[in-house]
């Protein structure tokens, strides 16, 4: 092949351009610390990177959901723990009130104490967490339990939500679903089983309050037999409380497992993200220095080629 001066010049310029372009690619990778700066750098890798980034954000959201839900359940459980001692005290009073030694007077003061316990339980039922009422289910914006009528300091009825409330609304009220993993939800609504179950196990709005108000009335009227009859019911209410707490405990366990899983998954995803996105420094540094060597030798060779021609040797 005939080689002309223009060819030599053009090839030289092409080689220098190719070399500088490659140097720039490596410099981009090293200075941005990112392997993918534009989708065209690695189209498939970009899609994987984007979906990994989405998944990481999603897992972060699940973690935050789980942590919030766990605090919520902790709070509910704490309140129910206090309710346990209230029920125990009420039972003690009922036992004392049903013994023959109890006088009308002592029963009266026992009724006072039971009344106090009911007021405390109403207060517990209105426990707030982060501005929301824990035991009202979806009706969390207002105190769910209100003392509806009082006669000389005695609580006669407790009202849940509103006077018109009925049992058909219970299921929809106690729905507070939180997503803890893709497609997995936990209902963190607490209190339905404890507050709204009667001693005979049937659904009854304010079942627990009705039972205690009944106890107070029986103590007030000095009816020892009736008080004694109620001991069984009080035990059953305590059982309801225990099973409510067991359910909450189980939910907390589920949350913990889900949290572990979310954290582990997030870690994996972060590793994947780094693999997809981050520059492999060793590779890029070696690539850069190789290209620099190529560039320098291209320059050196070009400078030598272009220096002489036949004219130099003609006299």
């Amino acid at each position: 092949m005939r080689v002309t001066n223009q060819m030599i010049a053009r090839n030289m310029i092409n080689n220098i351009n190719t070399s500088t372009r490659k140097i720039q690619e490596y410099q981009d990778q090293l200075s941005s610390a990112k392997r993918i700066n534009r989708p065209s750098d690695d189209p498939v890798g970009t899609a994987r990177l984007l979906s990994t980034k989405s998944a990481i954000k999603e897992q972060e959201q699940y973690r935050s959901n789980i942590e919030n839900a766990a605090s919520w359940l902790d709070n509910a459980d704490g309140a129910l723990d206090s309710a346990t001692s209230i029920l125990q005290r009420c039972r003690e009073l009922a036992v004392a009130g049903s013994t023959a030694t109890a006088t009308d007077e002592t029963m009266q003061s026992m009724a006072d104490e039971v009344n106090e316990m009911i007021a405390q339980l109403v207060q517990l039922g209105n426990t707030e967490y982060a501005g929301r009422y824990v035991f009202g289910g979806g009706k969390s914006g207002q105190p769910p339990f209100t003392v509806a009528s009082q006669v000389d300091g005695r609580i006669e009825t407790v009202q849940f939500v509103s006077a018109a409330y009925d049992t058909t609304l219970l299921d929809s009220t106690y729905q507070q679903n939180v997503e803890i993993a893709e497609g997995v939800t936990v209902n963190i609504a607490a209190g339905e089983k404890f507050f709204h179950t009667a001693a005979d196990g049937t659904v009854a709005i304010n079942g627990v309050f009705n039972e205690l108000i009944q106890l107070r009335q029986n103590l007030d009227s000095g009816d020892q037999e009736a008080v004694s009859d109620q001991l069984d019911s009080l035990d059953k209410i305590s059982d309801n409380l225990l099973s409510e707490r067991a359910v909450l405990g189980a939910k907390t366990n589920r949350l913990e497992t889900a949290l572990d899983r979310a954290e582990a998954y997030q870690l994996q995803l972060s590793e994947l993200e780094s693999r997809l996105e981050d520059t492999d420094y060793a590779e890029a540094t070696i690539g850069l220095s190789t290209q620099q060597t190529v560039y320098e030798s291209t320059l050196a060779v070009s400078a030598k080629i272009m220096q002489t021609n036949l004219i130099d040797f003609l006299k």
């Binding site: 092949m1 005939r2 080689v3 002309t4 001066n5 223009q6 060819m7 053009r10 090839n11 092409n14 993918i36 534009r38 989708p39 065209s40 750098d41 690695d42 189209p43 498939v44 970009t46 899609a47 984007l50 979906s51 980034k53 989405s54 954000k57 999603e58 972060e60 959201q61 699940y62 935050s64 959901n65 919030n68 839900a69 982060a130 501005g131 929301r132 009422y133 009202g136 289910g137 979806g138 009706k139 969390s140 914006g141 939500v161 609304l169 929809s172 009220t173 729905q175 507070q176 679903n177 939180v178 997503e179 893709e182 497609g183 939800t185 996105e277 021609n309 036949l310 004219i311 003609l314």
Partner: protein, 492 residues
């Protein structure tokens, strides 16, 4: 026998011929860096011999004549160079604009649509976990506004890129017309020279250079034009795609309004596919269509679920996203034909959060509707958040994604596919550019190898002509001595 003076004449002709050779060498050296110049060669030939002077056979040579001066060039290599240049420039145009398109999408980054979408779904999750909180509702509203803004911005920037394409097409067509006019003009000059029997070497080089430039703008076919009796006139006919650009009658002015569908190469070919109707992934419209489809699908699915919920005031969920019509008021979505939403004027360009919700975040419907206002219930918010992972099917006719079990897409994966599509278009165009550039360089080198000026070669020619010239002069001086001998020596 011839006379001594005949020898003088032969040497004189020789000196003149060598001088012409040296002049042509000078012309070649002077043009060593001229783009498109092809080296010229003096074709020397022995002049008509004289017969009858030599007894016993053989004719007496009469010296040298300059037969012709021709350029050394291979036309098929020009065709090669032009074909590959057209293909290269087509891909260069595509890569350039598609690179702009991928810049508009700003992926992968923490601020692109991908991140905005995830933030949007996450805010619905937040709302589901704390449905009555005003700060959470406000954060959701802000994330939704940011999402709609991003959709609007990308749409607007893509539309600007598309508008820029039309300007580029007009400019390119203008460039083609200018080159065609210049070539038609050169055609005329060349034909005039050719008629006199001479070779207009430098004019032909100029025309070939213009043809190279024209090939960069569009795919052209160049043929040598013939006159009525089938003889080559020296002019060239050019077709741009199927359109006649230059013929014997001169240049035909083309306009961007013409049917340019046969122009598939050169920058104009690239620009045309970029400005195409959106069926192929190297047109900007393809990305605008899918972006719109994505925005409308999100708005439609969110609105559908939102309408089934109840807000903090117990009212049914209003339209969450709205599309602002030409009159500045939201378009009535209930009358939209969702099989062709564009007909109703819906696009990513006019998507916004319902102004009523924007003004009062209690109107966000997070709870299931029922006789009770359940401010602590976030089931609807949860359902909307679930759209982020919901399987969807894509309907190409309407451009919409709709929830369906077993669907191939999620909203995010549809978007990610779009980004891959875009990245692949750029990277494959860039790969093709690399290959085509190598090919163009190679055929240009081949062509240059034949037509280019080599200084070493010209230097050698220079010496050759110089020596021949000196030798001819020497012959003259010898003849001079001989004449001296004859005339002065015989005197005595």
């Amino acid at each position: 026998m011839s006379g001594l003076f005949f020898g003088l004449n032969i040497s004189l002709k020789g000196m003149m011929a060598q001088q012409t050779g040296l002049e042509t060498t000078a012309h070649n050296i002077a043009n060593v860096n001229t783009e498109g110049y092809s080296r010229q060669r003096v074709n020397l030939e022995a002049s008509q011999p004289i017969s009858g002077l030599v007894t016993g056979g053989g004719q007496l040579g009469s010296g040298v004549d300059v037969g012709s001066i021709t350029r050394i060039r291979q036309q098929y290599l020009d065709t090669e160079v032009r074909t590959e240049t057209s293909a290269l420039e087509c891909q260069t145009a595509i890569a350039g604009t598609m690179d702009l398109v991928q810049t508009v999408f700003m992926e992968p980054s923490d601020n692109g649509l991908n991140a905005q979408l995830e933030d949007f779904w996450n805010e619905w999750q937040e709302l589901a976990a704390d449905p009555s909180s005003t700060p959470v509702r406000t954060a959701l509203k802000e994330a939704s506004t940011a999402l709609a803004d991003t959709f609007r911005q990308i749409n607007q920037q893509l539309t600007e890129v598309q508008a820029g394409l039309q300007t580029q097409i007009d400019d390119t067509v203008g460039g083609i017309n200018q080159l065609a006019a210049a070539i038609a003009d050169l055609n005329k000059q060349i034909i005039k020279v050719k008629i006199t029997g001479e070779n207009p070497n430098d004019l032909m080089d100029k025309r070939d250079l213009l043809l190279d430039q024209l090939a960069a703008l569009g795919n052209i076919t160049v043929t040598n034009s013939q006159d009525g009796s089938g003889n080559y006139t020296g002019g060239v006919d050019i077709k741009l795609g199927d359109l006649t650009l230059v013929d014997a009658s001169g240049a035909t002015v083309i306009s961007s309004e013409d049917d340019l569908s046969s122009v598939t190469g050169g920058s104009l070919g690239g620009l045309q596919s970029l400005a195409g109707d959106g069926t192929s992934n190297d047109s900007v419209q393809y990305y605008i269509d899918r972006l719109n489809g994505l925005a409308l699908s999100i708005a439609r699915s969110v609105n559908e679920i939102h309408a089934t919920g109840a807000d903090l005031n117990g009212d049914a969920g209003a339209e969450y996203f709205v599309f602002t019509g030409g009159d500045g008021n939201p378009i009535d979505l209930s009358s939209v034909d969702w099989s062709d939403p564009a007909a109703s004027g819906l696009s990513a360009a006019n998507m916004a959060v319902n102004p009523d919700i924007d003004a009062d975040v209690t109107k966000i419907a997070a709870a299931v509707s029922g006789s009770l206002v359940l401010e602590g219930n976030g089931d609807i918010a949860l359902q909307i958040a679930g759209l982020g992972d919901a399987p969807m099917v894509y309907d190409a006719a309407s451009g919409l994604l709709t929830s369906q079990d077993g669907g191939n897409y999620t909203i995010a994966s549809f978007y990610q596919n779009l980004i891959t599509d875009m990245g692949s278009t750029v990277s494959s165009a860039e790969r093709r550019i690399d290959n085509l550039q190598a090919l163009v360089d190679q055929v240009k080198n081949q062509r240059e190898s034949i037509m280019g000026v080599s200084l070493d070669e010209e230097s050698a020619h220079m010496i050759q002509y110089q020596h021949a010239y000196e030798a001819c002069a020497k012959v003259i001086s010898i003849i001079d001595e001989m004449l001296d001998t004859l005339i002065n020596g015989m005197k005595a």
